[in-house]
């Protein structure tokens, strides 16, 4: 196995009927990965890294994940140190519970997902700044206070503030990114945030490459 540095890493995009995953797939391809869109646990597990995208409602998304046995898979992949990137709903579902629905979420991160307080237009839609407070490799080279594209009505509120990797202000200051170990999850859409967004995918592809070297 001498191709670790050159071969394209295979990165799964988890497909559970939740929003536009085509742009995620394209951003990965553009960033030098072999993107594999799948809802099949075996296929996802065989990849070197995983992107967990998502838009839409919390309850229906959790039900879709469970019906494909993807809920346990996601937790297992994360505990097996597979590089993991959550996007939008893919961040929110990592928490324990959401005010948006009744279903339990994945519960990887302690805390709840809350609705924005009244006083501003909801959804929070458009480009907003992210104050980055993490040196995680997936966020490296992303200038502080870069603008990213957001569209959401709920935000993650982790109990352990140490997992927070970025914050954004919209009426309140909220957690717009988490990062720890092999997990990075962001509320914004890096695949819709131009060059600075693609930088995150490029970093994730590199991070996956490096991890593959360590894990194999």
């Amino acid at each position: 196995m001498n191709d670790l540095g050159t071969a394209k890493p295979k990165i799964a995009v988890i497909d559970y009927q939740a929003g536009n995953i085509r742009s995620v797939e394209k951003a990965l391809t553009q960033s030098g990965a072999d993107a594999v869109v799948s809802s099949v646990p075996g296929v996802i597990e065989s990849c070197d890294g995983v992107v967990f995208p998502g838009q839409g409602a919390c309850d229906s998304s959790m039900l879709n994940l469970r019906s494909h046995s993807l809920d346990h898979l996601i937790l297992r992949l994360i505990s097996n140190e597979k590089p993991f990137l959550g996007v939008c709903l893919g961040l929110q579902l990592l928490l324990q519970h959401s005010e948006e629905g009744d279903e339990d979420c994945l519960g990887l991160i302690e805390g709840t997902v809350k609705r924005f307080p009244q006083g501003h237009k909801i959804p929070h839609m458009g480009w907003n700044e992210v104050n980055i407070r993490s040196d995680h490799p997936v966020l490296s080279g992303v200038p502080n206070n870069s603008y990213f594209y957001f569209v959401h009505s709920y935000y993650a509120d982790p109990t352990d503030k140490n997992v927070i990797a970025g914050t954004t202000t919209y009426g309140i200051e909220f957690c717009s990114a988490v990062a720890f170990d092999n997990v990075v999850a962001v509320q914004f859409h890096p695949e819709k945030s131009g060059d600075v967004g693609l930088k995150i995918y490029e970093n994730f592809v590199q991070f996956t490459k490096m991890s593959r070297g360590v894990l194999s």
């Binding site: 939740a18 085509r22 237009k121 819709k192 131009g194």
Partner: protein, 276 residues
Amino acid sequence: MLTKRIIPCLDVDNGRVVKGVSFVNLRDAGDPAELAKFYDKEGADELVFLDITATSDNRDTMVEVVRDVSEEVFIPLTVGGGIRQISDVRRMLEAGADKVSLNTAALHNPKLIKEASEFFGSQCIVVAIDAKKYNAKLTDQQDQSMTVCEELKVDLDTGWVVYTHGGRNITGVDVVKWAQKVADLGAGEILLTSMDSDGHESGYDLQLLRLVSSSVSIPVIASGGAGTLEHLQQAIEVGKADAVLAASIFHFGTYSIGDAKTYLANRNIAIRPLGK
């Protein structure tokens, strides 16, 4: 801080961008992907592609356009024109659109908004409203394929009325009531075009804009009438718009997106600076 969005709108006919786009430095000013890249580089915050013929043949072409553009441009992409049913929404999203804009079909069948937003999420459902100040002398062709329920009827003295079929047919539906209704049904955003102002380059209809924007809790995109950069500023400051859409001032090169952003930033309006 959440920034105000600047959105160029491109009219597409038969896979080509039309309406006299005149950039000298483009190899092919009619190529949607080429133009999309150009506007992305200039700092556009989103792009809207409008299928102006909206026949079923053209819709297949539009799917190809969306596919090509989304290969190369990584900013949000909205597609409108001729989206009639859930399967049309799905096709556009699968081709790479981030949002679809519903107009006539939503008026004929408001349930479409609810179904589409429940299925795909509110974030990708834009409702476009073509509005004209109401007066009893309007002689436009009535939209025969709809009956207006009492709760949505236009206020004869003060109202603006909704048009369908690309502005050809009058409906009798009140713009503000309809805006509130579409928000209730799950639309994520409203694209509000003033037909009185559209094409005149004499400014957005600020009164209409402000009225609609303050009547709903979802974002409103101002459209129709931009001729100067001051008009953009007015739409945001006076009209309370969350985003401004313009066609000719950008297409004809009168102003670049960068010019618009610099102008607004100098007037303390939050915009996304170029290259950030």
